[in-house]
């Protein structure tokens, strides 16, 4: 991967990738694995980007797909991941974000199903229902209802933890 490509086409969207990778991992090692894998896949798939959507949408889609695939791979083959090889680190002891409320929110998001995580991340990133549906490949009519349900679930999960 050339530095140019990374600097111009990935780095400006690193925030998106990080937000998604954080939602699918529980520790720093896995997070870095996911981040690197997403970057690599973006680079590898760059020729398939036809400009039919925004580059950021493409990055969202790829990040979600890669993260969900890795999560599945991890279930099938635990030794694939650093955290399974390296000494165990208590997940509770890791504070990822300086903002405590954001940390709690992420913890709650991680308790959602893989697809629900994708939906809420895109919603929080202010993607329209239409865009969310396009990225995930589902019917936009169902997204609104799904978002509402997820938000209710998150509220319950966060009950008393944030102010």
């Amino acid at each position: 991967m050339s530095n140019d490509f990374y600097t111009t086409s990935i780095l400006p969207y690193a925030g998106i990738i990080i937000k998604i990778c954080r939602a699918y991992t529980n520790n720093q090692e896995d997070f870095e694995d996911y981040y690197q894998e997403v970057c690599l896949q973006i680079w590898k798939s760059r020729d398939r980007f036809k400009g039919q959507s925004e580059w950021s949408t493409w990055v969202y889609r790829l990040s979600l797909n890669v993260s969900m695939t890795l999560l599945k791979k991890r279930k099938n083959n635990p030794k694939y991941f650093a955290s399974d090889i390296l000494p165990e680190e208590s997940e509770d002891s890791i504070t990822v974000f300086a903002d405590e409320a954001l940390d709690h929110l992420y913890t709650a998001i991680k308790q959602l199903s893989e697809v629900d995580r994708a939906v809420i991340l895109l919603y929080l990133e202010k993607k329209s229902y239409q865009e969310i549906a396009e990225i995930i490949g589902t019917n936009p009519n169902n997204i609104g209802v799904r978002v509402k349900r997820i938000k209710e679930r998150l509220k319950k999960l966060l009950d008393g933890k944030i102010y």
């Binding site: 050339s2 981040y35 650093a82 409320a101 709690h104 929080l124 509220k155 944030i162 102010y163």
Partner: protein, 218 residues
């Protein structure tokens, strides 16, 4: 007042230290380890299968009264397993304390060496395996009449003009020689096909990773 999740999200990421971009390093370390481990596992299983197969074939050959075939197969398969077992020891000496690219390249060299040696051995293995089948059927069980000689007698009654060479029917003998020669000649191709069936996916994956890494370096 309880903040909404939208607010938490927005405000949380405003803090500058929230997003720290990981460095892109050691990209392939775990992938490399993973692919080598996978191959080693497959290789070991294959060796065990060859040894077990040699016993099964020998036992079966005794049961169907062609023990000579079984004995040759036993010898050939165990020699094959022994050679590869020795080769596998080389796999354990690959230094893991080097960068991923060097690690994979060393592994790739080991693979190429292993393929080369097996291709050479196949030039003996396939023809000998074929000959062992022919010899097995020719001599039949240990002791008693020799089925091959009985067959020649039957053929001579039916075809009295049949040409013989050292007491063997000429044309079938030529066919056996031809097939043996062809097996020796195409041993490399047959071995490569065999190798691809068993290890093809892993080997091509290795090629892909090395190609990716080389592209990354450029």
């Amino acid at each position: 007042m309880v903040r909404s999740i939208e607010t938490i999200w927005k405000e949380g990421f405003v803090k500058s230290d929230t997003i720290v971009v990981p460095k892109l390093n050691d990209l392939y370390n775990k992938k490399s380890m993973h692919i080598v481990d996978k191959f080693t596992r497959m290789f070991k299983i294959n060796l065990v299968a060859i040894v077990i197969g040699s016993f099964v074939i020998t036992a079966m050959s005794v049961l169907v009264h062609i023990p000579y075939m079984g004995l040759v197969f036993f010898f050939l398969l165990n020699t094959l397993a022994f050679i590869n077992y020795k080769l596998m020891n080389g796999l354990y000496t690959i230094d893991k304390n080097v960068n991923s690219y060097l690690y994979l390249k060393t592994f790739d060299s080991w693979m190429k060496q292993m393929i080369l040696l097996n291709q050479r051995f196949s030039r003996l293995l396939y023809p000998l395996a074929f000959l062992s089948v022919v010899i097995g059927f020719w001599f039949g069980g240990i002791g008693g009449d020799i089925p091959g000689e009985e067959l020649v007698q039957v053929l001579l009654v039916k075809f009295p003009d049949m040409e013989l060479l050292f007491g063997l029917p000429l044309y079938p003998l030529l066919i056996v020689i031809l097939v043996t020669g062809l097996l020796a000649y195409f041993a490399d191709v047959i071995y490569t096909l065999d190798f691809n069936i068993v290890y093809g996916r892993v080997y091509h994956k290795l090629d892909d990773i090395i190609a990716d890494m080389e592209e990354l370096q450029n």
